[in-house]
Amino acid sequence: MALTRRQRARAFRYGVYATSVAAVVAVALFVDWGKLSGALFQWDLVTEQFPEILTRAARNTLIFTVFGFIGGLGMGLLFALMRLSSVRPYRWFAATYIEIFRGIPLLVTLLLLGFGIPIATGWRWPNPYLQGVVPLSLVASAYMAETIRAGIEAVPRGQMEAARSLGMGYPRAMATIIIPQAFRIIVPPLTNELVLLIKDTSLISVLGVTDATKDLARFGRDGVNSSANATPLIVAGLVYLAMTLPLTQLVAWMERRTKAASR
């Protein structure tokens, strides 16, 4: 019996559905749910995480994120402007900086600045927060510089010409005409970078942190060590999600809005 093309497509689709359902049922039957939930999501361990996971760990993660973002944005703007400068050494310096810090893993930068330099020079970080925030900002600024540069280049050339023809100097035209428009364009990618930064702060936990500066990931890991149970990490993961999900949804909303506006 010959099937039409449409009938064949439908038969294939039902086949995929049936296989998926069978796989889910098989997993549900063979997994020991009691044991699994005992190891991953033990309720008394969940409640034990609070309130410290919020008042200390999440707070530290936010501190690292906010200062890392502010530092990264400030330096990123500077490097973006240097990259667009007519002064060749500025362009070279910014391009080299950006390539280096985008090409080296954050973990390596953290270890180098956190351990390598103190060991080599005997210099000590004056503040344990700075030890995490400085490398984080350095790396974030390299990524943000490229985002900001793209934003500035997306502003039509006529805007700079109009500003200059009114007698504004280059710095003033940049500050009052070009950069405000560039930032409107790059709010969605910049928010995405904020989300990445929130997650990247977890790497700071490889530096020996004091009890007071523990971030979410370190808090969860220490919880796993002391309870021999994965629940604290699951809770930490959920707290990360509570921070990142609203931001990714915000980006999705902004992108839908610009799409609707440009239609």
Partner: protein
């Protein structure tokens, strides 16, 4: 003749191997309206952009009032406050209201107070017939309205000369008239104007002098009745025939 507002002499501009301006001499006297016509690629927009140094000339001099713009020591930003420019693509600042578009340079460059610059802006908006639009944003305006705001923005600096770079070429045909009307009123009030245009009617009726450019040189220049009505040069005749034949 009075001292010219704009004095261009021996102006050359090359883009790489492309020799766009090949020695232009042109003076614009106070209150004169000079219309530059010519085929596309003739260098007329480049010439205009050299007058306020949006393009840096390769050779020759440009002088506006007592500013020698081609002198490396010239304070270009200060000189530009005396030279208004209106672009084909309007180039209003989309993140600012109409009023702020007209006020921003008055405040940041001329250091006028907020009240003074707003008062001047409202006066100019009335002049271009857009008083009721001061709170609107550029995206809410038609092309003709945007270009009228752009004219008001340039006038707010109290320029000694206004440059129009194909100010009506990007407009829908039914909106061309309102912008030309504003330009004509400006000319009638005695503004010194250098106008690159394809509007032959405007050149014929408003210009005190018409300059025909082709291939980077001034081919012919004189009163509109002569250049447009009875051109001496064969190239001018061919150009005029081609623009009138469609």
């Amino acid at each position: 003749m009075n001292e010219p507002v704009v004095r261009i002499s021996g102006l050359h501009k090359k883009f790489g191997d492309n020799h766009v301006l090949r020695g232009i001499d042109l003076d614009v006297g106070r209150g004169e309206v000079v219309c530059i016509i010519g085929p596309s690629g003739s260098g007329k927009s480049t010439l205009l952009r050299c007058v306020n140094m949006l393009e840096t000339p390769t050779g020759g001099t440009v002088r506006v009032l007592d500013h020698e713009l081609t002198d490396p020591d010239c304070d270009i930003d200060r000189a530009r406050t005396r030279i208004g420019m209106v672009f084909q693509s309007f180039n209003l600042f989309p993140h600012m209201s109409v009023l702020d578009n007209i006020c921003v340079a008055q405040r940041k460059v001329l250091k006028r107070s907020a009240e003074d610059s707003a008062a001047r802006a409202r006066q100019l908006l009335a002049r271009v017939g857009l008083s009721e639009k001061e709170a609107a944003y550029p995206a809410q305006l038609s092309g003709g309205q945007q270009q009228r705001v752009a004219i008001a923005r340039a006038l707010a600096m109290d320029p000694a000369v206004m440059l129009f770079d194909e100010a009506t070429s990007a407009l829908d045909p039914e909106l061309v008239g309102e912008v030309l009307g504003v330009m004509r009123a400006l000319a009638d009030e005695g503004m010194t104007m250098l106008v690159v245009t394809h509007e032959m009617g405007f050149a014929a009726n408003v210009a005190s002098r018409v300059v025909f450019m082709d291939g980077g040189v001034v081919v012919e220049s004189g009163p509109p009745a002569e250049v447009l009505g009875n051109p001496r040069e064969e190239r001018t005749r061919r150009f005029l025939a081609s623009v009138r034949n469609h």
